[in-house]
Symmetry: C2
Subunit: 412 residues, 2 copies
């Protein structure tokens, strides 16, 4: 027993799995080893007793997202990131978690992994805690090896990604070959997703990002890189039927988590259409940037839009503005309505805009304007008279809508 307390882990071992079994034997409980992003690195097979959370972790080769979220909310992970000591986690039946003890594995001042010990039928003692700490220290070197191997691969990936983004790779075969040489299956369909941060992305923030991306299970992130204040991702949806939905959800999720977990605010997502041909990565990248630049120009109207497709009319608004300016065009209807508003200080223009925004829905628009539906009806009648507009004509309505938005844009 004395030797055991001394340091039972100072022996040579080939694989992390072997090492996990060793810990398991020493502490007499199931052991799981994860990297910093909660990907499964190894697990003990010696002890067959386990809990549902561990099973899903092993099956999926990563800790389930809901478990991670719970551990963040409840404070375990933040604690593990602060201290080098073991942390005890209480039973959480709703996510299938038994009592367990966790410890983080450190390389200098950075966490590079975790060891989990599940307390099946006995709780670990103070002594065990000391042993666990020694185990964590012993695991460090093995993990570092894995990391450097990964880093090299990542560097090559990054270079390849930039070539894709800038359109340097001309043929589809060349691109697919590159993917394979990096041992990545090229996604059947993809989009480029860019998160724009308020400030340049520091190394520290980069780690948080990396963590969030790796733990995400909503969408597949094939490649990612960082450019000043932009995080650029090559992503593909797991659900092929409604990819936009998935992407939207992920974008919102990412922004939310960055704010809640790390206090980083003001991240703006923008993503491209979905493409099948990898040669179009460059185009996809441009679309994403275009989304971001348009979101800057029309922040209010495009607040909930992240996707180039969903930008709708805003895709082409600045181009139209340019033409309208060179043509010195003036919308006659809007002009008359403005004149009327001026003269009678009414607000027909505002009324019109809300009505069009609300997709011609009288009730919704009336609610937003805080007037009676009949009032709105009356105003609309006046608008058709004064502006000589026909609301049954989608054509005319569109131009009104466009010109309204343009006016607004010009005023700013």
């Amino acid at each position: 027993m004395n030797t055991r307390l001394h340091d039972p882990f100072k022996t040579a071992f080939d694989s992390l799995d072997e090492f996990a079994d060793l810990i398991s034997q020493v502490l007499m409980c199931p052991i799981t080893i994860e990297d910093a992003n909660h990907r499964l690195l190894a697990y003990s097979t010696h002890d067959e007793r386990t809990d549902p959370a561990r099973i899903s972790t092993i099956i999926g080769r990563r800790v389930p997202e809901k478990v991670i979220n719970q551990l963040w909310k409840e404070g375990t992970i933040p604690a593990l990131l602060k201290t080098q000591d073991p942390i005890r986690v209480k039973n959480m039946n709703d996510i299938g978690l038994n009592h367990r003890v966790a410890i983080s594995i450190w390389k200098q001042d950075e966490v590079i992994g975790f060891i989990w010990a599940i307390e099946i039928d006995k709780l670990l003692t103070e002594e065990d805690f000391i042993l666990l700490k020694k185990a964590a220290d012993a695991a460090k070197n093995k993990l570092l090896q894995l990391q450097t191997r990964k880093n090299k691969k990542e560097e090559r990936s990054q270079e390849f990604f930039w070539k894709l983004l800038t359109g340097h790779l001309k043929t589809t075969e060349e691109i697919v070959d590159h993917f394979h040489s990096l041992q990545i299956t090229p996604p059947a369909s993809f989009a480029v997703l860019v998160f724009q941060f308020q400030e340049n992305i520091s190394n520290k923030v980069e780690q948080s990002i990396s963590y969030l991306l790796k733990t995400n299970q909503r969408i597949k992130i094939t490649l990612y890189t960082i450019d000043c204040n932009q995080l650029i991702l090559l992503v593909s949806a797991t659900n092929l039927e409604s990819p936009f939905n998935d992407l939207d959800q992920f974008a919102k999720y990412f922004v939310l988590q960055m704010r809640e977990r790390y206090g980083i605010k003001g991240i703006k997502p923008g993503y491209s259409s979905i493409f099948e041909d990898h040669q179009k990565t460059n185009k996809a990248y441009k679309e994403s940037l275009s989304v971001l630049s348009i979101k800057e120009k029309f922040p209010l109207d495009t607040n909930d839009i992240f996707n180039y497709q969903k930008l709708g009319i805003y895709q082409i608004l600045d181009m139209i503005l340019e033409k309208r300016q060179t043509d010195a065009y003036e919308n006659y209807s809007l002009k008359r309505l403005h004149e009327y508003d001026e003269k009678h200080n009414s607000n027909l223009i505002e009324t019109l805009e809300v009505f069009l925004n609300k997709d011609n829905n009288i009730n919704d628009a009336a609610k937003e304007l805080n007037v009676h539906a009949n009032t709105l009806n009356y105003r609309l009648k006046r608008i058709t008279e004064i502006g000589e507009v026909n609301f049954k004509d989608p054509n005319q309505k569109m131009v009104l809508y466009l010109d309204l938005k343009l006016e607004k844009y010009q005023r700013i």
Copy 2:
């Protein structure tokens, strides 16, 4: 009596009015003299008896439009344009016309005016007819004088108009001065209206045009000129409240009459927005031409549109097309819908287009598609699923509409 039959009109007279009185005395009935466009040139005051049609003619200094229309329909004017002999017109109480006799005044093979004799209490005899013929002959020279004077003025007007259209006159004062020197009051607001003919406009057609324009009383035509197959007008609406309405009506009226009266088909009208500043005549002209060129590109969709304002989205469609082509943009939703149509040979795309054309009106669209309203509803639901569209978002709908039209355009 003998001398009277010989030629009572071979005397000198100063004005046409004097001459009208002379005829009136000889034939013992009220006399009116008009130019080829039914503008009043002179009328007898000797005889006080008259009829409502004559009164309005004198008051308005032109024959009322409904009277002219009636005389065309009923054949009097066509007859007068064919023969040099007097024509008798029957009583037409509904338009206030008594019995009367008319004769056309000729210069070579062209009618340059008319003389009207109203048969108040006695019908004109054969003898009177011969006298009338002599009167017409005598009136000819006087009318010619008037015409040449007018022609000179018209030439100067034409030159001025072209300067306006091409934007050669820089300051508004300069333009207003020009107007005044031509004894024209510059209209407070105006539009440029262009009729495009299928063939170059011959002199003969020009006469018909001139006639139609001069007899029109719906809108004020300040200036007009002809350029190859285009008739260009500077017009202003008499009704300031709904100028577009007036202009639309006139455009349709002109096209109709040219076809019905002269058998000239395929005339396409196009007119600009309404402007107040005469420096913008050039812009107005460009807008009109733009309408015509767009009508050529989208003949079906823009068939009932003559006005730049009402062109709606078509104003900017070719510009958008250009951008979409350089961007190699592809609408994801439409792509998926097309694929679905292809695979299941359905017609979701057509359904979508009709639905959008009909301004989201299920019933109207269903009628046009010859399906049950529920069928349409079902299809729309499928469209939102397959194309990942949200029909409550006016933005998305607009882009769909635009891209649909663009596709259609590209296919042609």
